[in-house]
């Protein structure tokens, strides 16, 4: 089977060390299937429905609703979990309206 490889500058695509490659079709990647900047409700809660049909890997960052200069990693305060149909965010920045950036990946948990 044909393999597509792209080497990093100064490295060979024939290298057997995958760290030398920028891309290899033999590997898998965190592919962002969906992402968005969204608002929670006034309790810091938000449920996002997805149609992936499996529980996806995800990442979340949260910020104050009225001041989005500083962003925090997702579990600073609240709780986040994914199901095969939803991403559920509870108390993003506490029990207040918050800004959320989320990304759902092609990888299955």
């Amino acid at each position: 089977m044909a393999v597509i490889k792209i080497a990093k500058p100064g490295k060979s695509a024939l290298s057997t060390d995958e760290r030398d490659l920028a891309f290899s079709s033999k590997l898998d990647y965190l592919k962002e299937q969906a992402s968005a900047l969204v608002d929670t409700d006034n309790n810091g809660d938000l449920t996002i429905t997805h149609n992936l049909g499996y529980v996806p890997a995800f990442t979340i960052f949260v910020a104050d609703y009225s001041d989005t200069r500083m962003w925090f990693s997702y579990d600073m305060i609240g709780n986040v979990y994914a199901t095969s149909t939803q991403l559920v965010i509870q108390s993003a920045m506490g029990a207040i309206k918050s800004k959320v950036y989320y990304a759902l990946f092609s990888s299955q948990l």
Binding site: L27, K31, M70, W71, K99, S106
Partner: protein, 136 residues
């Protein structure tokens, strides 16, 4: 229709496959690393005034991307992804967390005497990965 580049995993047909799990590349965004590196923070523990001790500090890396990027941070000491919180009763004994803005990533330690005691200086080591991909 514009040309498309898709690479299916072995055993799948890129032209007919619809499940994103079965692609190596399906034209969706892949996070691209802009910066990766190490940071160290020396935390000096002092008397908290209540008979205990407190050690706090923040270290940062200047990315200067001009926007808030997706970023990840890890504790090299504990081999854990941040943020990390050690609970103590209803409170937190030690927290190591990070935040990001247009210019920097900041990693903060706040320890109520788990790793050190008054007069100690403890070094914490971190690894960060900052993406070109934008939050806002």
């Amino acid at each position: 229709m514009s040309p498309q580049i898709k690479i299916a995993k072995a055993g799948y047909d890129a032209e007919t496959e619809t499940d994103p799990r079965n692609f190596v590349f399906n034209q969706k965004n892949i996070y691209k690393i802009a910066f990766t590196g190490n940071l160290s923070l020396n935390v000096t523990y002092v008397d908290d005034g209540f008979g205990g001790t407190i050690g706090e500090g923040t270290v940062s890396f200047e990315h200067n991307l001009g926007y808030v990027p997706v970023a990840f941070a890890f504790s090299k000491d504990f081999g854990q992804q941040l943020p990390n919180f050690w609970p103590a009763g209803a409170g937190v004994a030690i927290s190591i967390s990070y935040k990001i803005d247009n210019d920097k990533i900041y990693i903060t330690v706040s320890d109520t005497g788990v790793m050190g005691w008054t007069g100690d200086t403890i070094q914490f080591d971190f690894r960060y990965q900052i993406m070109y991909d934008k939050i806002i």
